[in-house]
C-alpha cells in the first residue's frame, strides 16, 4: 500500500465546497510565488546577462554617486571691470587622518614628511598619536601631492574635498581684493568686507578695477621706488564722473596666497589706511576755497617777498620767488606763503567747512574696511588754517585726496570713491548705486578756473615732466616733509603728483605718491614731487591712452593761455629786480 498515494476523497455536501475552495487558494498562492520567482529570475538575467553585456560593450562599469539637488555652496568670484578673475575658489583635496587606524605612527609620519617637507615631524607625530578620530594633516593639496599620498597606500589617510581660494593676478591688486584664510573666511579687503555676500551669492562680484591699468600704475610706481631708493609708494586712478577706482596700488605688496609670510610693511594699505600730510597738492583745495569765496576772482596778488611770520611760526617757500605774486603764480610756483595768505583770506571756519565738504576731515566712505581716520588739528587754531592750505597739519589718505581732487575738477560735484561696479551687488550691501552726489563743492566756473591753474602748473610750473603731448594733462606737485621726533624731517619726504586729463573736460585723475625718495644724480639731488612723481604720472597716462584707446581731445584748446597775462615772464621779473636794486 502506497502511503503517499493521493487519496481520493469524495465528499459531498457542505464540506465538499470548502475543500475545493482551499485547493483553489493553495494553487493561487503557489502561482503567485512561482510568478514572483520568475520575475526575480528574469531580473537576474536582465542584470547579469543583458545589462552586463551592454556595459561590457560600451559603458564604463563605474559607480555613479547620486547627485543631490542641494545647491553647492561656493564662495563667489571677484572679477575686474572686464571680467578678468581676481579671486576664485576651486575644489582641492585636503588630507586628514584617523589616528585609530594608524598602526605605526612613526613610519607614517616619516612617509608624510617625505611627501611634505614643510610639515614638522614632531607636529605630525603628535597628531597621529592623539586619541581623536579626525586630524588634519595638510589642507588644499595639489593633484601631484594627492597622487603621492595615494601611492603611499596608508589606510588611515583620507581626503576631504575643500575649496581653495586662488588669486590668479597674484599681488597685483592685493590691497583692494584682500585675501581669505584657509577656511574661506575673508580676512582683508573686499574679501573681508563682502564676506557674507561672497559666501551666499554665486554671482561674481565685479570691481571697478581694470587689471591693465592696475599693472601700468604698479609698474611705474615700482620703477620710481627703485630709481629713488624709496621706502614705498601708492597710487590711484579714478574716474572723476562717478568716483570709480580704476586702479589702486600700495607698495610694497605681497602675494595673497602667501599672506602669512608677508611682513607688516607689505600688508599695510597705504591707499586707504595710511594717512599722510600730503603737502602742496592741498593747494588745489585752498585755492579753490579762495576762488569760491571771492567769486572766482583770479586777479589777486600775494606778498611772498619775506617768510610769513605768525606768532612763533614762520612759513617759508621751498623755491622762494621773493616777490609779489599773482594767484596763478602762487599756484604754479607752489608758494607756501601765498597759499597761507589765501587761507587767511578765506578764514578758519570757511576753510574747515570746505575741507569737511570735500570729505577730508572724516573717514572716507569706502567699500573696504581698512580705512584710516584723518588726523585733524584739535583744537584747530588759526595757524592750522595757514599750514592746512599747503598740506601740513592735516593728514589724509591718498584715496581721500584723489576723490577730493576729482570733486573739484569734474565740474564741482562731490564724488565718493567706489570699488564696486555692479549696481545690483551694491544694492545688496545697502550701498547706494550712484556715487556722484548732489553736493556741490565749487561752482562750474571755479572748477574751470582750477583746471586752468592745473594746466598752468604742467605747462609753466613745477609739473612740466607730467605732460603728455596732445592729451592736455593738468596737475599739481606735492612735496611734504614727514613729521619726526622734534618737528619735521627735511630729508624724509612724501613726494606726490596729482594729474588730471584731458584738462578741458577731465575724465581721469591719477595720483602717485612716493614715500621717502632719495635724490639721485639725475635729479640733481632733488626728491620733490616734480622730479619723482610727475614723470610717473606721465608714463601712467601714456599707458592709459594706449590701453583704453583714448582719442585725442576733440576740441584741443590751451585753456591756460588766458591765465598767462597774470604770470610774469623771466625778463619781466629780472627787469623788476633791477629797478628795485637801483
Amino acid at each position: 500500500m502506497n502511503l503517499f498515494q493521493r487519496k481520493k476523497l469524495h465528499m459531498i455536501g457542505e464540506r465538499s465546497g470548502s475543500l475545493e475552495q482551499a485547493r483553489g487558494r493553495i494553487v493561487l498562492m503557489s502561482a503567485v510565488f512561482v510568478c514572483a520567482y520568475l520575475l526575480v529570475a528574469a531580473r537576474s538575467v536582465d542584470l547579469m546577462v543583458l545589462q552586463g553585456a551592454l556595459q561590457k560593450k560600451g559603458e564604463d562599469a563605474v559607480y555613479v554617486a547620486p547627485i543631490k539637488d542641494e545647491k553647492i555652496s561656493r564662495r563667489g568670484d571677484i572679477v575686474d571691470r572686464n571680467g578678468v578673475l581676481l579671486a576664485r575658489s576651486l575644489k582641492t583635496a585636503s588630507l586628514y587622518a584617523d589616528p585609530k587606524f594608524v598602526i605605526d605612527p612613526k613610519t607614517v609620519t616619516k612617509e608624510l614628511t617625505k611627501v611634505f617637507p614643510d610639515l614638522q615631524y614632531g607636529d605630525v607625530l603628535k597628531k597621529l598619536q592623539s586619541k581623536k578620530r579626525f586630524v588634519w594633516i595638510k589642507r588644499n593639496l595639489t593633484p601631484e601631492e594627492q597622487g603621492e599620498v595615494l601611492q603611499l597606500g596608508i589606510p588611515a589617510l583620507d581626503f576631504k574635498e575643500e575649496d581653495r581660494r586662488l588669486y590668479p593676478q597674484g599681488p597685483l591688486a592685493v590691497h583692494m581684493v584682500g585675501y581669505s584664510g584657509v577656511d574661506g573666511q575673508g580676512l582683508s579687503g573686499i574679501e573681508a568686507s563682502f564676506n557674507e555676500l561672497l559666501e551666499n551669492d554665486d554671482d561674481a562680484l565685479t570691481l571697478t578695477i581694470d587689471v591693465r591699468l592696475q599693472h601700468a600704475l604698479r609698474r611705474e610706481i615700482m620703477a620710481s621706488i627703485e630709481k629713488f631708493s624709496a621706502k614705498g609708494g601708492a597710487g590711484v586712478i579714478m574716474d572723476v564722473r562717478d568716483g570709480s577706482v580704476l586702479a589702486a596700488v600700495s607698495l610694497p605688496d605681497f602675494d595673497p596666497q602667501q599672506y602669512k609670510s608677508a611682513d607688516n610693511n607689505a600688508q599695510f594699505n597705504r591707499i586707504t589706511l595710511g594717512v599722510y600730510e600730503l603737502g602742496s597738492v592741498f593747494k588745489i583745495f585752498s585755492t579753490a576755497a579762495l576762488l569760491e569765496t571771492t567769486n572766482g576772482n583770479i586777479a589777486q596778488v600775494f606778498d611772498a617777498r619775506e617768510p610769513l611770520k605768525r606768532g612763533r611760526h614762520k612759513i617759508r617757500d621751498y623755491h622762494a620767488e621773493k616777490r609779489i605774486m599773482s594767484l596763478p603764480e602762487v599756484f604754479m610756483h607752489s608758494s607756501n606763503i601765498g597759499s597761507a595768505l589765501m587761507g587767511e583770506q578765506v578764514g578758519t571756519e570757511k576753510l574747515k567747512n570746505f575741507y569737511k565738504d570735500l570729505g577730508l576731515l572724516t573717514n572716507v566712505n569706502f567699500e573696504i574696511g581698512e580705512v584710516g581716520r584723518p588726523i585733524v588739528p584739535s583744537p584747530w587754531r588759526d595757524i592750522n588754517t595757514l599750514t592746512a592750505c599747503y598740506g601740513h597739519g592735516v593728514a589724509v589718505s591718498p584715496l581721500q585726496l584723489t576723490s577730493a581732487v576729482s570733486s573739484i575738477v569734474n565740474g564741482g560735484e562731490y564724488v565718493e570713491p567706489t570699488l564696486i561696479l555692479n549696481e545690483a551687488n551694491s544694492e545688496k550691501v545697502t550701498k547706494k548705486s550712484s556715487n556722484k552726489t548732489s553736493v556741490r563743492i565749487v561752482s562750474p566756473e571755479v572748477s574751470h578756473r582750477m583746471r586752468q591753474l592745473l594746466r598752468l602748473v604742467v605747462t609753466d610750473g613745477t609739473g612740466r615732466s607730467a605732460d603728455v603731448e596732445g592729451y592736455y594733462v593738468g596737475g599739481k606737485t606735492g612735496t611734504a616733509e614727514k613729521p619726526g621726533v622734534g618737528g619735521y624731517n627735511r630729508k624724509s619726504l612724501i613726494s606726490s603728483f596729482v594729474g588730471t586729463f584731458p584738462v578741458q573736460e577731465p575724465r581721469y585723475v591719477v595720483y602717485v605718491m612716493v614715500d621717502e625718495p632719495q635724490g639721485t644724480k639725475e635729479s640733481y639731488g632733488y626728491a620733490t614731487g616734480g622730479w619723482v612723481a610727475a614723470p610717473v604720472v606721465k608714463n601712467v597716462i601714456s599707458s592709459m591712452v594706449s590701453i583704453l584707446n583714448i582719442p585725442l581731445p576733440s576740441k584741443p584748446k590751451n585753456i591756460e593761455k588766458s591765465l598767462l597775462r597774470f604770470v610774469k615772464t623771466k625778463e619781466q621779473i629780472e627787469k623788476e629786480k633791477n629797478i628795485a636794486t637801483h
Binding site: 547627485i67 593676478q169 597685483l172 587689471v211 603731448e469 608714463n539
Partner: protein, 144 residues
Amino acid sequence: MFKISGLLTLFVTFAFGAILFWTSQSVQDVERQLAKKKSVVGQEKETIRVLSTEWDYLNRPQRLEKLAIEGVGMGDVEGDSIDIFHDVSLIPEPVVPVLPSAKPVSFSRIEPAAQSDGEVSVQYDRGSFDALLENVGENMEGGE
C-alpha cells in the same frame, strides 16, 4: 475549478505588475543615466573653472608684457612714444607710386593661350587691370 473571471483577474494583475516593474526599472535606468550625465556636466564645469582660472593666470598683464618684450621686442609705452601732428600740413601727402612701363610680372605669367582652348585671351595693349580682369572673366565664362 477557477472561474474565468478569476483567471482573467490574475492575468491582468500580473500584466500590470510586469508593466509596473518594467516602468520602475526604466525610470531607475533613466535616473542612473541622468546622474551620470549630471556628474559629467559637473566635472566639465569644474574643468572649465580650472581652465578659465589658468587662462587668466597666464594672461596676467605683467606676463604678457614680459613676453611682448622678450618675444616681440616691444617696449613700454612712454610719454615720448606718442607723437602728435598739431598741424595737418605737416602730415606728408600719400605717396602715389609711378607705374613702371614694363609689364608686371604677374601679367607676363598669363601666357596667351591657344585660341582653340578658348579659356583665356589676354590683350596686352589694354591699359587697366580692371579691364584685364573683365576680359579674363568673360573668357572664362564663355570657355568650355
